[in-house]
């Protein structure tokens, strides 16, 4: 693995499988009476959130605390950032306090990449979502959820998602989740189809390693997993689609549509869901919907990523377990 986790596209297949396998072991810690490991004792991780996201921050925080890291939370609201302090100054200030890793969420695409490559700081950088660019830990937890459900918890160890058909539906244009998932799922051997109105697909999507369709119904029957992406109501005002009702009718997942999916197929959503828009309550609350599992899995994945980046003197090597001399 590289020293930072900026983009799902940076992960090799072996890196990704190592993270998923490690997360499986981390998940078992949650079943124990003491849900804590001493692994990152004495290491300090800052959660540097320039954009509101309580869910993602809490997930990272839980992961950091389970690994015994010291956690500093920094949210931009009410901080010096709102007084005009730059990303660079903020990061350097935090590093001066002795931070080993920065988990960063930022509204500007590329901000984590800048932080990692500009020589501003030495700490490892973990991207917790940047603009409309990437959200690699989300893609990893999604892949983890798919592997568990579609391949099996133990049967999945060491395996990828070869040949699984994954459909992503919704606002692809503004979605870092979609970008990360397309990259990672492709790396893991899955066949990805994006379904969206043409207005919500980026120009240039034709070069992505996936299929594109405007028609949800014809895709559903051939999907092992359907991931719905949040569609913000404000997009309606920018003429991306005419009305909420029309969007739901063409691209929303309701019970009738879900019934067309293969029996084993699952419904996923990165949250927060807009019920009645991209997903009906009936679907959201069904057994096939993995939203809650995804949240649980998020902690395991983030533990795995933090362990593999910070647990040693350098990031983990993604091949083979080192042979032990005794």
């Amino acid at each position: 693995m590289q020293r930072h986790l900026i983009s799902a596209a940076d992960l090799t297949r072996d890196d990704a499988v190592l993270i998923l396998d490690t997360a499986e072991e981390m998940a078992r810690v949650a079943d124990r009476p003491i849900k804590k490991l001493p692994t990152l004792r004495g290491r300090t991780v800052v959660n540097l959130f320039f954009e509101d996201s309580t869910r993602t921050r809490i997930s990272f925080e839980a992961a950091e605390k389970r690994l015994s890291a010291d956690v500093i939370n920094f949210t931009a609201k009410g901080s010096s950032v709102s007084k005009g302090e730059s990303l660079k100054d903020t990061a350097q200030t935090l590093e001066a306090m002795g931070v080993d890793a920065v988990v960063i969420r930022h509204s500007a695409s590329g901000a984590p990449y800048r932080l990692a490559t500009s020589g501003w700081i030495d700490a490892a950088v973990v991207n917790a979502g940047d603009g409309t660019h990437q959200h690699p830990t989300q893609a990893l937890l999604d892949a983890f959820t798919m592997r568990r459900r579609l391949v099996g918890r133990d049967a999945g160890l060491g395996k990828d998602l070869d040949g699984r058909r994954i459909t992503l539906v919704g606002d692809i244009l503004h979605s870092r989740v979609a970008r990360s998932n397309v990259d990672l799922l492709h790396t893991l051997g899955a066949q990805v189809t994006l379904v969206a109105p043409p207005t919500l697909l980026p120009v240039g999507v034709e070069t992505w390693p996936c299929e594109v369709s405007y028609d949800l119904d014809s895709t559903l029957t051939k999907s092992d997993a359907v991931m719905l992406l949040r569609v913000q109501r404000e997009r309606m005002n920018a003429a991306f689609f005419p009305t909420e009702r029309e969007y739901s009718r063409r691209y929303g997942l309701d019970g009738d549509r879900m019934a067309k999916m293969p029996d084993h197929a699952i419904v996923m959503h990165p949250g927060p869901m807009v019920r009645g828009m991209e997903i009906t309550a009936e679907v959201a609350d069904s057994d096939r919907c993995t939203v809650v599992e995804q949240v649980t899995n998020g902690v395991s994945i983030r533990m795995a990523v933090l362990y593999l980046l910070l647990g040693g003197n350098e990031p983990a090597v993604s091949h083979a377990r080192p042979t032990e001399e005794k």
């Binding site: 730059s86 500007a108 940047d130 870092r176 980026p202 120009v203 240039g204």
Partner: protein, 428 residues
């Protein structure tokens, strides 16, 4: 003023000749000239060009003296071989009155490194709503002939039409920054494969092309002339080519960076590559080179846009748009046009001196290198190869996309009306 003899210079890239400067004028051009008491500059096969003229420079004064002043900007110009620059109007306050343009003009006179010709704003405060006092700026000491809201597009078709018509009264020209504002809301880089991947707001080519198409048709309709700033797309080239074939009085410029760099560089998220218009595709770059060679694009203009370090040392979205260009323009043109065989040095003199002077009506600049002409000259060591080192820039800002890049050619001498402003690569 003393005499200077430039010995063995390839005038416009031709056979080596001697050029004798007496006072502010070229006295003679020929072989084996001698002149008692003249200071001799051994050109040793370097190329002698008329002093370069930049129709598109941001000197930032008044208002943003932290990034550039008229003095530092004209020093940068002299370093790059320029003897005349046109200073864009987007200063603070905006150059939309006779008072501001005269101030800039006077600062240029005082600098002594390069003639400064202010450009006047088309609309008050660059707001696109109300015509600025174009006539008053023309009649001021600055004698403004070029008007531009550069940085912003004159997007209202009626305002653009009126401006095109109005400046006919005194032979002015409107230089349009072609950028349809609605299509570029939140735009961060060229819209295409790379923006899709990087998740940066897309800046579609059509936002530029649609305005150019509209404006050449407006110019035709009202019988006026229009100049298009910094063409950046192959489609824009096609439209200008069509307009010229139709007899529309349109001229166009391209920046050095659009002749060399592509949007692939944005993958680094390094804001040094953030510029307006954005870096485009390889195909666009090739179309722009071809258009500059065949005359569809008339001139090279730097769009020299200095910014302080902190405005680039940040995340992409927060960074300012623009690159400095005066001190690297000729090298980039040599790399992209001369070394590729698309243009000879006479062609470079045409695109970087004669034509821009003609479009901007800069008297005394862009003249042939021959007896009796003003001694505005620049001497270029075209054999030189070396990495760009921003630390050596005369500009107050360092936001160059070429840091460390190997580029050919180096300006060693510049003369402004016979007075050396640059000698052996050092400002006087």
């Amino acid at each position: 003023m003393s005499k200077t003899l430039i010995r063995g210079a390839k005038v416009l890239g031709g056979e080596p000749q001697d050029v004798l400067i007496d006072g502010g004028v070229v006295e003679a051009v020929g072989r084996d000239l001698s002149a008692e008491g003249a200071e001799v500059v051994e050109a040793g096969g370097k190329v002698l060009l008329p002093g370069l003229v930049d129709l598109h420079t941001h000197l930032r004064e008044p208002g943003r003296e932290d990034s550039e002043t008229v003095l530092t900007g004209t020093r940068a110009a002299a370093s790059g071989g320029y003897t005349n620059v046109f200073a864009m109007a987007n200063t603070f306050p905006v150059a939309d009155t006779a008072g501001v343009v005269e101030q800039v003009w006077r600062l240029g006179q005082e600098s002594g490194y390069c003639d400064v010709q202010p450009i006047g704003a088309v609309t008050v405060g660059l707001e696109g709503a109300k015509l600025a006092e174009l006539g008053a700026m023309h009649e001021s000491a600055a004698g403004v002939t070029v008007f531009s809201d550069d940085g912003k597009c004159v997007h209202d078709a009626v305002i653009m039409r009126r401006a095109l018509e109005y400046v006919k009264a005194f032979g002015g020209v409107v230089a349009q920054h072609a950028q349809e504002p609605r299509l570029t809301e939140g735009a961060q880089m060229n819209e295409g494969v790379v923006s899709a991947e990087l998740g940066l707001g897309g800046w579609p080519a059509v936002a530029e092309e649609s305005i150019i198409a509209r404006d050449v048709l407006l110019a035709e309709h009202v019988g006026s002339r229009v100049h298009i700033c910094h063409l950046s797309t192959a489609g824009s080239v096609e439209i200008v080519r069509w307009a010229k074939s139709r007899g529309i009085d349109v001229t166009a410029e391209v920046t050095p960076h659009h002749l060399l760099l592509t949007h692939e560089l944005v993958r680094s998220y390094n804001p040094v590559y953030k510029v307006n218009p954005p870096l485009r595709t390889e195909r666009d770059v090739m179309a722009l080179r071809e258009a500059l060679a065949d005359g569809t694009i008339d001139i090279v203009a730097t769009d020299h846009a200095p910014h302080p370090h902190e405005d680039k040392d940040c995340e992409w979205a927060a960074a300012a748009m623009g690159m400095v260009g005066l001190e690297t323009a000729l090298s980039v043109v040599q790399a992209t046009m001369v070394d590729t065989g698309l243009l000879d040095w006479a062609g470079v003199a045409d695109r970087m001196s004669s034509k821009p002077a003609k479009i901007g009506q800069a008297t005394g600049h862009g003249r042939p290198v021959s007896a009796g002409e003003p001694a505005n000259l620049t001497l270029v060591d075209t054999e030189y190869r070396g990495p760009v080192d921003p630390a050596g820039f005369a500009s107050r800002s360092r936001n160059t996309p070429y840091e460390g890049r190997e580029l050919p050619g180096r300006v060693t001498h510049t003369w402004l009306r016979g007075k050396a402003t640059l000698v052996d690569g050092k400002l006087t």
